[in-house]
């Protein structure tokens, strides 16, 4: 609790105690009577309300008559005067002030609390970096560390800046970044992201980015600035609040004037006091605070709850979209599939299989393409790059190079055609790498991508979460696309798409629908689609600036089930916010009605007003609590994989045809 809040608490206590004490003084206490009581109650009234009176005065001077301070001031001063001239009841005015201040205090505390719960997440912020100067470690502000500086990170410390390990080895806890609980081992030459915690050994890291550009700063920035994009609901409430208060005040004025005048002209008793009292009660209810506070707080809690789960949502408007979306469009590679290829089968004409893989791997060794990487991995041992000369990458086709002086070509059928070689048509669900050695066709290697173990569950979860249609876009051939979509239960698959086709297809889908469309990609080469969709979600892309920039929702780990989770969190948040709006408005209008009819006194009005605000705030904070996603049980993991492997060995899921479009785009260069 801040000093300011504590002082307010003391004021509330002091004013309450005095009010209760003075209330014990009998009303007809001799000659003193009402004026004496008025002076007595003026003490707690001023204690609790002086700041509001001052603000109200300033507001009036500046011509801003309708601010809530002015309203509260008019209502309570009015009640005090009524008390002095008529009823002798001063407790009411003081109580209204006290409750109003309790409400304000509660609001401040609630906001502070939710801010703290977000800052818990923010504990990944590193406060210092250790830089060695003249053999001595010196503590430096991460902001001041220049690119290329070597920093030292000791066990237990958080890596402050992205970089490359130059000395030492250790294991890192990357859970703050990826949600992955298994420590990651790092050795010299490995790239490390800021925000990971060094668990075992001392690491020397050469920084490759500035602090402001490092992963941890990016994440913090994203979370902290999340609600700067406002949702429609928020905009609506702002507009509503602008009309609500003047409307209620106008009603209050009419209430104070019209019935008494009518009564006067009708020749009866105008009951002026009664109507003024009702009008003042109206003013007490006129503050839109409960409504105004609970909506942003609800969104904020939703964003906070999501970020706890490793789902970073860039603005409250996306919560709205996620909650009403009925369609999800997936990019296949890297999203539903691992995006990591494995060699599944080799058929060689003459050469031993190992030799064929070795030559192909050597030829492709300088390429970052995932298929090339898979060949090198299948080869197992390191390849001496000096054996490879005259290496040439032919985009969309493959690679030609000389290995130990022998010309080797590895690539798709188009490459073989270019070289004028005959090659067999291979029927295969995945990619086929044809290899030619010494100008002769030598065989082919079949490579496939694997479906992520969580993918199937994630599609089921999406249906549970209320998603009606799922689409998959891929550059692969039809058999592959159908195979994967069939395995996962995806409704429609579009195959053989170039990146620009994907965008066009997404636009077609969006055209047909009124409800928002979610696009899920890995951010490697689908940025246009991510931006175009109502909500663009990227997964496991922390560290890729472009992906984070293009997407609206960033899922920090690689688990596609988080898509359904983010929808569920959004739905819950929207439900809570709607509850708040309906509940607050219902109570407000109910009490406006009752007080106009004279059934409710000011006590009730203020208790209802503050009560509904507290209820709405507490309700909002529910959005922060969301049952975390269970880790997929280990026995579930292989189940998904073995099934696909055993039932149809040559048709491994997620396979990919090497065609020009795929080669140059779909699988892209996924840096891992």
């Amino acid at each position: 609790m801040k000093q300011k809040h504590r002082r307010m608490l003391y004021r509330i206590i002091a004013a309450s105690v005095l009010t209760v004490l003075f209330a014990l003084v009998p009303a007809e206490s001799g000659a003193y009577g009402k004026p004496f009581k008025f002076l007595l109650f003026l003490v707690p009234y001023l204690i609790i309300g002086y700041d509001i009176l001052i603000k109200a005065f300033k507001g009036i001077v500046r011509g801003r008559a309708l601010d809530e301070n002015v309203l509260m001031a008019i209502a309570t001063i009015g009640a005090m005067i009524l008390g002095a001239v008529h009823t002798g009841d001063f407790e009411e005015a003081v109580a209204v002030m006290i409750f109003y201040q309790i409400g304000e205090l509660f609001q401040a505390l609630a906001v502070e609390r939710s801010r703290t719960s977000i800052s818990k997440l923010m504990e990944i912020r590193p406060d210092c970096a250790w830089v060695e100067k003249d053999g001595v470690l010196e503590e430096v502000d991460p902001d001041e560390v220049e690119i290329g500086t070597v920093i030292t990170v000791r066990p237990g410390e958080r890596i402050p800046i992205d970089g490359i390990v130059t000395g030492g080895s250790s294991s890192l806890n990357t859970s703050a970044l990826t949600g992955e609980s298994i420590p990651r081992d790092v050795f010299p030459g490995d790239e490390v992201l800021s925000g990971s915690v060094n668990l075992s050994g001392v690491l020397k890291i050469r920084t490759t980015k500035e602090f402001g550009e490092s992963a941890v700063s990016k994440i913090l920035d994203l979370v902290e600035n999340a609600s700067s994009r406002k949702a429609k609901t928020e905009a609506f409430i702002t507009r509503f609040a602008r009309y609500y208060t003047p409307f209620v005040v106008a009603c209050a004025v009419m209430l104070a004037c019209v019935p008494p005048l009518a009564g006067y002209f009708a020749g009866g008793d105008p009951e002026l006091h009664e109507w003024i009292y009702r009008a003042l009660t109206f003013l007490v209810i006129s503050c839109p605070c409960a409504l105004v506070i609970s909506i942003p707080l609800g969104f904020f809690a939703g964003l906070g709850g999501a970020s706890r789960e490793g789902i970073l949502i860039k603005g409250s408007n996306f919560i709205e979209f996620l909650a009403s979306a009925e369609t999800v469009v997936f990019d296949k590679t890297g999203t539903l599939t691992q995006g990591v290829f494995e060699v599944s089968e080799v058929s060689s004409c003459g050469l031993p299989q190992e030799k064929l893989i070795e030559l192909a791997a050597a030829a492709e060794s300088s390429s970052p393409h995932p298929i090339a990487v898979s060949l090198v991995r299948a080869h197992g041992a390191d390849i001496d790059r000096s054996r490879v000369t005259d290496s040439e990458d032919i985009p969309g086709k493959g690679v030609v190079a000389k290995v130990d002086g022998i010309p080797v070509a590895a690539g798709n059928g188009k490459l073989m055609e270019q070289l004028g070689l005959e090659y067999p048509e291979v029927s295969w669900h995945g990619s086929v790498v044809h290899v030619a050695v010494g100008g002769k066709y030598a065989g082919n290697i079949r490579v496939s991508d694997t479906i992520k173990p969580e993918s199937r569950r994630s599609v089921e979860d999406l249906k549970d979460a209320g998603i009606k249609k799922t689409y998959m876009l891929t550059g692969d051939s039809e058999p592959t696309a159908e195979h994967v979509s069939g395995q996962l239960g995806i409704d429609h698959a579009y195959s053989r798409l170039l990146p620009e086709d994907k965008l066009a297809r997404l636009e077609d889908i969006m055209e047909e629908l009124d409800s928002p469309v979610i696009f899920v990609g890995d951010g490697i080469n689908d940025a246009p689609s991510l931006v175009r969709a109502d909500v663009g979600i990227t997964m496991g892309a922390i560290g890729s600036d472009a992906a984070i920039e293009a997407s609206d929702v960033v899922i920090m780990d690689d688990d596609p089930r988080r898509i359904a989770e983010s929808i569920k969190i959004s739905r819950k948040t929207m439900r809570i916010i709607r509850e708040n709006i309906v509940f607050t408005l219902a109570v407000k209008f109910l009490f406006l009605g009752l007080s106009a009819a004279g059934y409710v006194d000011m006590w009730f009005a203020i208790i209802a007003d503050v009560g509904v605000m507290i209820a709405a705030v507490l309700n909002s904070s529910r959005a922060l609590r969301f049952r975390p996603l269970e880790k997929l049980k280990t026995d579930e993991k292989p189940a998904a994989r073995t099934e696909s492997e055993t039932e149809e060995t040559p048709g491994l899921p997620g396979a990919q045809i090497v065609s020009s479009s795929v080669r140059s785009s779909d699988s892209g260069t996924r840096s891992r």
Binding site: I54, N225, S227, F300
Partner: protein
């Protein structure tokens, strides 16, 4: 150009008022107040001097809500 400022304000409605006031200030293209994070992000018009503009923003905010502050 967009910049973020830390603000201090106690009620959500006051934050809305600050946002309105900031938006109306000359040199400000757009402003948004994040009440819960206590932050104001201001997009300046081209060629505006953020320092001078923010002084005016603070002044205008004080006019609508005397109990607020912007860390400049």
């Amino acid at each position: 150009m967009k910049k973020n400022y830390k603000i201090e304000v106690d009620c959500a409605n006051c934050a809305l008022k600050m946002e309105e006031a900031a938006k109306k200030t000359q040199g400000v293209a757009d402003a948004s107040v994040n009440f819960v994070m206590q932050k104001m992000s201001v997009t300046f018009e081209d060629g505006a001097d953020p320092g001078a503009v923010m002084k005016q923003v603070l002044k205008n905010c004080k006019k609508v809500e005397s109990d607020c502050d912007i860390e400049l």
